[in-house]
């Protein structure tokens, strides 16, 4: 009898899932409009993410919360529009509790908008202007909740260092021990998530090589508020580039570089006399590779970064991660990611050198189940360990339910 009830439930769920898929397919059709014989087409789509985090204080990464359990819902809307074969426009707007998970109130933002022109059909050249994700590295194409095998970003994209962009440190000690005195949101990671800064980019493909170069108004480490063109100008701009090589569909290799000032305008008054925010830059070199075949996908990224810090000198860091995803069944997949970030030494002014931030290692493990082609549940566990400091280990549990439409 129990078996029969279970079978009935399974059948009902399957039938329901099929209906849900059908409903979302019809919604997709309804939210796609066209005019001028399909030469102008626009599509509204989005995701609804319901996230739950459980962590120890202080929370790891860019989570900002005084309580150990955080519910973080997010509605994301996308607009994709195609005009003929050469013009493409997209925009992304979010309603959530902040760009990164936080216990703040609700806010609505226009995170991305860009206009793209592709004059030749073979993709040799594309120009884009607007506010959009960086061309650096290989994480950006999978940073959205549906494509990302994890709930959070790799360590290098979210681990706040001793670098702060709103004020310059008054001494080496202030620089090194600042994180113990100031709140976490005062500091910056090497790359802040997908870095939706404003600017222009040129990109394209030549045979097995692809290239991209961008000029943006904010450095890779800059906070989301700095990405708006009304907040930060282009004086001086940040330049980033990536050159990719794809020997075949399975492999992809890339080399990235970025250079740009990382201080915000309000930091000017805290700089040494006669110096300007343009005198202190963030330099990033990146190497990435990816492999995909059948149900396996592997990504790896290495980053070497240098920050020019007033009254301190050059602060260097090296970070990398290796990430793998495997589909066990059509609907169930697992992922594992090993992250590490190592920090260089800076002179403390007394003839000694000190590591400017504790070295970190973190392992992320996630499993996900796609109930339908529009609904997905992810569960994740992170274990973070400070390898060169007596800091506590950090555990994080997270769950994310996504509805894609």
């Amino acid at each position: 009898m129990k078996l029969r009830v279970l079978s009935l439930c399974a059948f009902a769920c399957t039938a329901c899932a099929f209906d849900i898929d059908d409903f979302f397919d019809r919604l997709d059709t309804a939210l796609t409009i066209s005019a001028f014989h399909d030469n102008l087409r626009a599509r509204l789509s989005g995701t609804l993410d319901l996230e739950f985090y459980n962590f120890e204080q202080p929370p790891a990464g860019l989570i900002i919360s005084d309580v150990d359990n955080l519910f973080n819902p997010r509605l994301t809307l996308f607009l994709d529009a195609q005009i003929g074969s050469q013009i493409y426009f997209f925009a992304q707007s979010r309603l959530d509790r902040g760009f990164d998970p936080s216990d703040n109130g609700a806010q609505i933002r226009l995170d991305e908008y860009a206009l793209r022109a592709t004059p030749w059909d073979d993709g040799r050249f594309t120009a884009q202007i607007g506010k959009f994700a960086t061309v650096v590295g290989n994480w950006v194409p999978r940073h959205l909740s549906w494509e990302n095998p994890f709930i959070n970003a790799p360590l290098v994209y979210e681990n706040v260092t001793s670098i702060r962009d709103k004020s310059a440190p008054v001494s080496v000690f202030d620089f090194i021990y600042g994180p113990y005195y100031y709140e976490k949101y005062a500091f910056n990671p090497v790359i802040w998530g997908p870095s939706y800064a404003s600017g222009i980019s040129l990109s394209g493909r030549l045979d097995r090589f692809d290239y991209a170069v961008e000029m943006k108004n904010a450095s890779l480490s800059s906070r989301p508020e700095s990405w708006r063109v009304t907040e930060s100008g282009f004086e001086p701009p940040t330049f980033s580039t990536r050159v990719g090589f794809r020997p075949n569909e399975a492999w992809n290799f890339g080399f990235s570089a970025s250079e740009g000032p990382y201080f915000r305008r309000e930091a000017q008054s805290t700089l040494p006399p006669g110096r300007d925010i343009g005198d202190y830059k963030e330099f990033v070199l990146g190497q990435d590779a990816s492999f995909a075949w059948r149900h396996l996908q592997v990504w790896v990224e290495f980053y070497e970064a240098r920050f020019q810090v007033p009254r301190v000198g050059d602060a260097d860091t090296f970070a990398y991660y290796i990430e793998a995803k495997y589909k066990f069944t059509p609907q169930f997949f697992g992922a594992i990611r090993w992250n590490q970030q190592l920090f260089g030494d800076v002179s403390n002014g007394y003839g000694q050198s000190t590591r400017w931030s504790p070295d970190l290692a973190r392992i992320d493990i996630a499993v996900a189940y796609r109930f339908t082609s529009h609904t997905q549940l992810k569960l994740q566990y992170d274990y973070q360990h400070e390898t060169t400091a007596p800091g506590d280990d950090n555990h994080l549990l997270a769950a994310q339910f996504t509805v894609r439409f």
């Binding site: 899932a17 796609t32 087409r41 994709d80 594309t126 589909k327």
Partner: protein, 214 residues
């Protein structure tokens, strides 16, 4: 001797084309829905983007004779290709038990999958030149929606039927279904995932029946 004669009769009978012994014909027209809007490809995070015109295939219907028919001994292998980031053909009717190949004719990866109850599978990512071409056998009647895990806009349909008697309409909705066995049946017109129209028909050998699905 008599047994050998019977065996010969069976052998000849089993390889005879269906059309030779089943000669009724149904023709008519199905009222088709309006053409779909061509999909919009999301290219937000692609460094390299090609032109943005995706082909759209006009809506077609599948007309089939519903009934209890013996399974065909051998079924030809069919293909649904991925070309220019679309499924070609976008709609493929097949009798249950058909093997379908999914060749990738693009210079990029595809990841074809289906969560439909009639067939659940995920082919993973495979290169255009990989052999053998990934295949699936569709042995359960029903509608199978094909999707690509990499290209969200791609969508294709395989309609798995429990009958060997089916035909696709042309773009105006006209159809002609020939070689049908005599008898009383239900003629069905599958129009989309929610719309299947049906009409009872009585077929006689040598007769051509006209049926419209308004």
């Amino acid at each position: 001797m008599r047994l050998r004669g019977l065996l010969w009769f069976n052998a000849v009978f089993s390889i005879m084309p269906v059309a030779l012994w089943a000669s009724a014909v149904v023709e008519g027209r199905v009222e088709l829905p309006k053409s779909h809007t061509a999909p919009v490809q999301a290219k937000r995070y692609e460094i390299v983007t090609k032109g943005g015109v995706l082909s759209t295939q006009p809506p077609l219907a599948v007309v089939y004779l519903d009934g209890a028919f013996p399974n065909l001994a051998s079924l030809p292998t069919k293909q649904v290709a991925q070309k220019d980031l679309t499924f070609v053909p976008a709609l493929l009717p097949v009798p249950a038990g058909t093997k379908v190949e999914f060749p990738n004719l693009d210079d990029t990866y595809h990841n074809i999958f289906s969560y439909s109850p009639a067939k659940r599978f995920d082919l993973g990512r495979y290169r255009a030149e990989e052999r053998p071409i990934p295949t699936q056998i569709f042995d359960k009647p029903g509608l199978v929606t094909l999707r690509c895990d990499i290209h969200e806009h791609m969508r294709g349909l395989i309609l798995v039927l429990n009958t060997p008697y089916f035909v696709m309409t042309d773009t105006d909705g006209h159809f002609r279904l020939s070689g049908l066995p005599a008898g009383r049946y239900t003629l069905k017109a599958w129009i989309d995932s929610r719309t299947t129209r049906d009409k009872p028909v009585e077929l006689k050998n040598g007769q051509t029946l006209h049926v419209d699905f308004p």
